[in-house]
């Protein structure tokens, strides 16, 4: 664990610069690894100890193969923990090690200060080791296959959490349920008998009755409202053995721990890249290292085949924000200025840039970051575009350079980490304890074969038949799996059959 003297010297130097710039980080423990160990640690997501599972083996195989073929090299790996752990690749040149260290201090500052991470477990290294110990114990007791098999099912659903839920505080008042007396019949307006049919027309009353029934039915429904945190729902209501609950709980806990990283990829990588370039170009670089630094840095921010690179987008946005706040290019007066030359040359010499980006890194996540700070000028300057798949040509093609669509597309793909929204809507479907899930369709279809396989895993946890309502090729469909067979129905048919059965 002791860093060799020459690297420790570099570490102290870089750490000093980071502090001078005002970075506020968890201490970082660096470890030097050879590439074999690096691939191993990377396969475990950076954690020294994880629970045993074949997919880590697969990841390792993949990493070590592609390393052997020269397809990739892991430069940097850092984990959100207090202290942070980070790894240096033994074979790297000193200039690479300096870049990595500077980059890592950027990440550590981000982990410590960004609000998305405020609820994460900062002793996750220990927690992961606990998870590993517990799962090993289950494996000894219930066999490796049984436990691993169950983990497979849980992992298949690990995305079904509500990443915002750690921030939602729900206060329930006791008298919520019986605040009002339940109405069972529609209210009639008072009228003379002979006027009754006019003032309270039977058709109207009937309609009201229907609405009331529906409402009462909804109130009886379980869950009362659609549930986003499917894993939690399963934990609380699926008929699991206690070890299975524990396994599911572990998977869920890790999913919540990792969620903020998914929500802040652009911001976090942009921030780390911003700081490594700042520290290196302004402080740490020696004359002899300039070429190697430039090579490494341009590799980090290169966009390949036109695709978006989060390192680059993040870096450029921070630089743009810093520049705008330095020059006062914000606020009512600037926004309303229509003289393009005046806008370009706008400079109120406010010097608020540095302060602003520190604030941004504290308060935003990728969605709000893009929403608040991606301007039309920025998109034009950096030549952003949207692309779409063209079926005829069987390729992705540039679709538009229109600012609105660029922003909309970016926000869309960042929302929920680009994953579909799935909710539990009924846990007593058909009054038979079957589980009904709903996919909220937002313009894109699910990959149906995967959805079926995933549904199979939901069933393994729920035990009773499970259903998923979705929209595919403009047709409402309900996919079902009963433990043996898959089936599918038009959702219109399902809805009417369902109504009839009630």
């Amino acid at each position: 664990m002791n860093l060799p003297a020459h690297l420790d010297r570099l570490r102290r130097e870089i750490r000093g610069y980071a502090i001078d710039y005002g970075l506020d980080f968890f201490e970082v423990i660096f470890e030097v690894l050879d590439y074999d160990r690096m691939n191993e640690v990377a396969a475990y997501g950076g954690y020294p100890t994880r629970y045993p599972h074949w997919r880590f083996g697969m990841e390792y195989e993949h990493l070590s193969k592609s390393y052997a073929h020269g397809l990739h090299k892991i430069y940097e790996m850092v984990i959100n923990n207090n202290p942070c752990y980070a790894y240096l690749l033994e074979e790297n040149a000193p200039v690479d090690q300096k870049i990595v260290m500077a980059h890592v201090y950027g990440h550590s500052d981000f982990f410590k200060n960004n609000v998305s991470f405020s609820k994460t477990n900062r002793k996750m290294v220990d927690e992961m080791a606990n998870h590993a110990a517990r799962i090993r114990r289950f494996m000894e007791k219930y066999t490796v296959e049984a436990v691993e098999d169950f983990i497979d099912a849980c992992l298949s659903l690990e995305g079904l959490i509500d990443p915002h839920s750690p921030f939602i505080v729900r206060e329930r008042t006791r008298d919520d349920g019986n605040a009002e007396e339940e109405e069972t019949a529609p209210r009639r307006l008072r009228s003379k008998d002979y006027m009754s049919n006019f003032i309270n027309p039977p058709s109207f009353l009937e309609e009201q009755q229907k609405k009331l029934d529906e409402e009462r039915h909804r109130a009886k429904r379980f869950p009362e409202e659609a549930v986003r945190d499917v894993l939690k729902f399963l934990l609380e209501h699926a008929p699991l053995e206690s070890w299975q609950s524990e396994v599911l709980n572990i998977i869920r806990e890790e999913a919540y721990y990792f969620a903020p990283q998914g929500q802040t990829k652009i911001m976090n990588e942009g921030w780390a890249t911003y700081w490594h370039s700042k520290i290196m170009t302004e402080k740490a670089l020696t004359d002899a290292e300039v070429i190697d630094y430039a090579d490494h840095h341009s590799g980090t921010v290169a966009s390949h085949s036109g695709r978006l690179n989060p390192y680059k987008l993040g870096l450029e946005l921070y630089k743009d924000i810093e520049d705008r706040w330095n020059k006062g290019k914000f606020g009512k007066e600037y926004d309303e200025c229509e003289d393009s030359r005046a806008r370009r040359e706008w400079d109120r010499r406010l010097g608020l840039g540095r302060e602003k980006i520190f604030e941004v890194r504290r308060l935003h996540n990728d969605v709000t970051f893009i929403d608040a700070f991606l301007t039309e000028e920025f998109a034009v300057t950096h030549r952003y575009f949207t692309y779409q798949y063209n079926k005829k040509a069987n390729q992705q093609q540039i679709a538009s350079r229109d600012f609105k669509s660029i922003k909309a597309q970016l926000l869309f793909q960042l929302t929920n980490h680009g994953q579909p929204f799935i909710f539990v809507t009924d846990a007593n479907y058909r009054n038979r304890g079957e589980l009904f899930l709903m996919h909220r369709h937002e313009g894109m279809d699910l990959k149906i074969d995967w959805a079926r396989e995933t549904l199979r895993n939901v069933q393994r946890i729920w035990h009773r038949p499970v259903h998923l309502q979705t929209l595919a090729e403009n047709r409402g469909r309900v996919l079902s799996f009963d433990g043996k067979d898959h089936s599918e129905a038009d959702s219109a048919d399902v809805a009417s059959a369902d109504a009839a059965s009630r």
């Binding site: 074999d36 160990r37 191993e40 990377a42 396969a43 997501g45 100890t49 045993p52 074949w54 997919r55 083996g57 697969m58 990841e59 195989e61 990739h72 892991i74 430069y75 790996m77 990595v100 980059h103 691993e148 497979d152 298949s156 659903l157 995305g159 079904l160 490494h296 980090t300 966009s303 390949h304 085949s305 036109g306 695709r307 978006l308 690179n309 989060p310 390192y311 680059k312 030549r383 952003y384 575009f385 949207t386 692309y387 779409q388 798949y389 992705q396 093609q397 540039i398 350079r401 660029i406 597309q409 680009g418 994953q419 579909p420 699910l446 990959k447 995967w450 959805a451 396989e453 995933t454």
Partner: protein, 368 residues
């Protein structure tokens, strides 16, 4: 240094093996594996080892990119390679390619088809010497002490001398109980084998028929290679005449002439006699045709050569009749009649790719 990941890696490999086994019939039939061959490894695409999730369908999402280009211009495929790597968390669309040693593949084939190991012919064999720790001695270095055997000796002695008490089963070895591992020189027979593939390349054998032969011979090779240390392969094609050719030519020659099967058998007999004397070699003969022969007279000649020359020299002679729209399929009938009870003859009718599986089992299932 031992890696912790080892256990997970093994588990992964075990799962992959299971998948291969499950899909073996498909692999055998579709031939997606051939052409992916390295020297000792074969790369096999495994579908869906990824954990399924609720995700959007492919090519629906589109995205945002950066750079020059007109509207309608293609955007290069392939995910962006990031400057700094990260343990992958994106469930990709990819099919996993795994490399499996051919030996392992043969083992899977053997298990799935329930192929018995081949009993090598007990003729003159090339012998190699090898030291193996398979003996036990009463003296030796402490580092080679055989604990289990030592305790066994002690137990024997205690029972014999009546000092063993089952209620308090304490066993204390003394000096003369000690046993040590020791090596013995093992003379390992190194058996060699030769496969001779013969194929009719006359006009009636189309591409589809040849593809079947190619697939079937790949699996035969793979299996026999796992059974013998040295394996030679020879190829003979024939129409009205027979020629010894290389593998490439074997699969890609097409002639328009007629078919005289005996020409191939005669050439095969000469090849075996000259180069692979059966006292030293395990000889396997495979012949594929669509069952047409020039004349009934030539078929009789074939049966004679087989009976007198080839069968005595071979472990097994296999004839695979690949159905073609042009063939009468008579040859198989004739062989059936001539060699109904002969253990050394395996016959199989291969109607299409789906029949390859059963055909391989027929050919290799006797363990000869």
């Amino acid at each position: 240094m031992a890696l912790k990941i080892e256990q997970d890696l093994n588990r992964f490999k075990q799962i992959v093996r299971g998948r291969i086994k499950k899909n073996l019939r498909k692999y055998i039939t579709h031939g997606e594996l051939i052409g992916r061959r390295g020297k000792d490894l074969i790369s096999i695409p495994i579908p869906q080892i990824d954990l399924p999730r609720f995700v959007y369908g492919p090519n629906q999402t589109g995205g945002v990119g950066q750079g020059e280009g007109e509207i309608g211009q293609p955007v290069g495929a392939g995910e962006p390679e990031e400057g700094s790597g990260k343990a992958g968390d994106a469930p990709g669309e990819h099919i996993l390619e795994v490399e499996v040693p051919l030996d392992e593949l043969a083992k899977i084939l053997g298990e799935e088809l329930e192929l018995p190991d081949i009993k090598h012919k007990g003729r003159k064999q090339i012998i190699s010497e090898k030291d193996k720790y398979s003996g036990v001695a009463t003296a030796g270095p402490e580092s080679l002490r055989h604990f289990k055997r030592t305790y066994k000796e002690a137990l024997k002695r205690q029972i014999a001398s009546g000092t063993y008490d089952p209620m308090s089963p304490r066993i204390v070895p003394i000096r003369r109980d000690r046993r040590y591992r020791t090596w013995r020189v093992q003379r390992e027979p190194e058996t060699n084998a030769v496969i001779v593939y013969m194929m009719d390349v006359s006009g009636s054998m189309g591409d589809e028929q040849k593809e079947i032969v190619r697939l079937e011979s790949f699996w035969i090779d793979t299996w026999l290679r796992s059974q013998y240390k040295g394996l030679e392969v020879r190829y003979i094609i024939h129409d009205a005449e027979a020629r010894l050719v290389d593998q490439e030519t074997f699969y890609h020659t097409r002639e328009s002439g007629g078919t005289v099967i005996s020409s191939a058998y005669r050439l095969c007999d000469k090849l075996v006699r000259d180069e692979f004397p059966p006292e030293e070699w395990n000889v396997y003969l495979f012949h594929f045709s669509d069952g047409d022969n020039w004349s009934q007279g030539d078929t009789e000649e074939c049966v004679r050569i087989l009976r007198e020359a080839l069968l005595p020299a071979t472990n097994q002679y296999c004839y695979g009749q690949v159905e073609s729209p042009y063939g009468t399929g008579q040859f198989l009938q004739d062989l059936r009649e001539a060699f109904a009870e002969d253990e050394r003859v395996a016959l199989s009718q291969i109607e299409g790719k789906d029949a390859i599986y059963a055909s391989i089992k027929e050919f290799l299932g006797r363990g000869r």
